[in-house]
Symmetry: C2
Subunit: 189 residues, 2 copies
């Protein structure tokens, strides 16, 4: 999606440790008109695919998923993150390792909000190692629901997550795919 790629080129900052800072428009300050355009692009890409719920994860996924909920006209559920390993019986939970924070955490969704008849579009801001996305897919399966597809804003395509999730049979639509990046520049695929 050219609009998003152009924005990444203009305002994204590559930092040491494979970090792409997109705080300016994506995950600290949020450009809502950009989010709406992204949601409309996912709607176009998933035309004809039954989707009745969106699932994302706090905190950076919520804003994007909210606009997707508006455009798809479906409710949005966000998984909650906790450092505790306490699992309440009324939740679906999955352990996710975060490379960014170098620790494992637990993601949880109340059983009230996912059901066997749900066709779920999973939305997140980044896809790199795929651990968060696989955790969300795991939660959808625990509920007996179906993963209709995944919508990612920025995929680090040189990392293994995208391949892993696609080879497991899931459709992943990433609006910007980064083939390589360094402080000298960003190359999209």
């Amino acid at each position: 999606m050219k609009l998003l790629e152009d924005r990444i080129l203009k305002e994204g900052v590559v930092k040491a440790g494979d970090i792409l800072k997109v705080d300016m428009f994506l995950n600290h300050q949020m450009d809502i008109s950009l989010f709406k355009a992204m949601a409309e692009e996912w709607k176009r890409l998933y035309e004809g695919v039954p989707i009745n719920k969106i699932l994302t994860i706090e905190a950076s996924g919520i804003g994007i998923a909210a606009l997707a909920g508006l455009v798809f006209e479906v409710p949005v559920v966000f998984a909650k993150k906790a450092q505790t390993s306490n699992i309440d019986g009324d939740v679906y939970a999955s352990h996710v390792f975060s490379y960014t924070h170098n620790r494992e955490y637990l993601i949880r969704v109340s059983k009230q909000f996912l059901h066997p008849e749900d066709k779920v579009l999973i939305i997140d801001d980044f896809l790199a190692n795929g651990k968060a996305l696989l955790g969300l897919i795991d939660i959808v399966h625990q509920a007996g629901a179906e993963v209709a597809g995944c919508g990612i804003a920025i995929e680090k395509a040189y990392q293994p997550g995208g391949k892993l999730v696609r080879e497991s049979g899931y459709r992943v639509e990433s609006l910007a795919k980064i083939e390589s990046m360094s402080e000298d520049g960003i190359v999209f695929g």
Copy 2:
């Protein structure tokens, strides 16, 4: 706002410890069409008031603020919460005590995203003791910006926060004001 009050009566659950669970539509599963109606109500209430930025706090504020950003056509910034007391020099930060979690945390906003010329509408899901809201107001002041007003989904009007913030000279527009609640019922003001 009758739409929100009716929804609270229908799906809200009062629990011991002064807890109102509104997970069904507000802060775990999100009803985006309700959020849009709430945003339109704030837009009506703040008609004629200059607002060029919305500020909220992760995680439950983000979805509501995203829809407000859409309706007001302004960018949305969310303050980040951290348990650490490390303050990066490039952020505005404020200490906030959470009665819900019975601990103090630090809320932070990058200095990049708040400027002296900003007229800020602060959005949050709940107002009770007012600690989070006062922390956000503190951050707006640190930036030399102006608080145009506050938009709250649910105010526990029997708690001191609303009075405290209004008596400090800020406009607070709460869409549902709870005068009292117990397991027997909820009374709006």
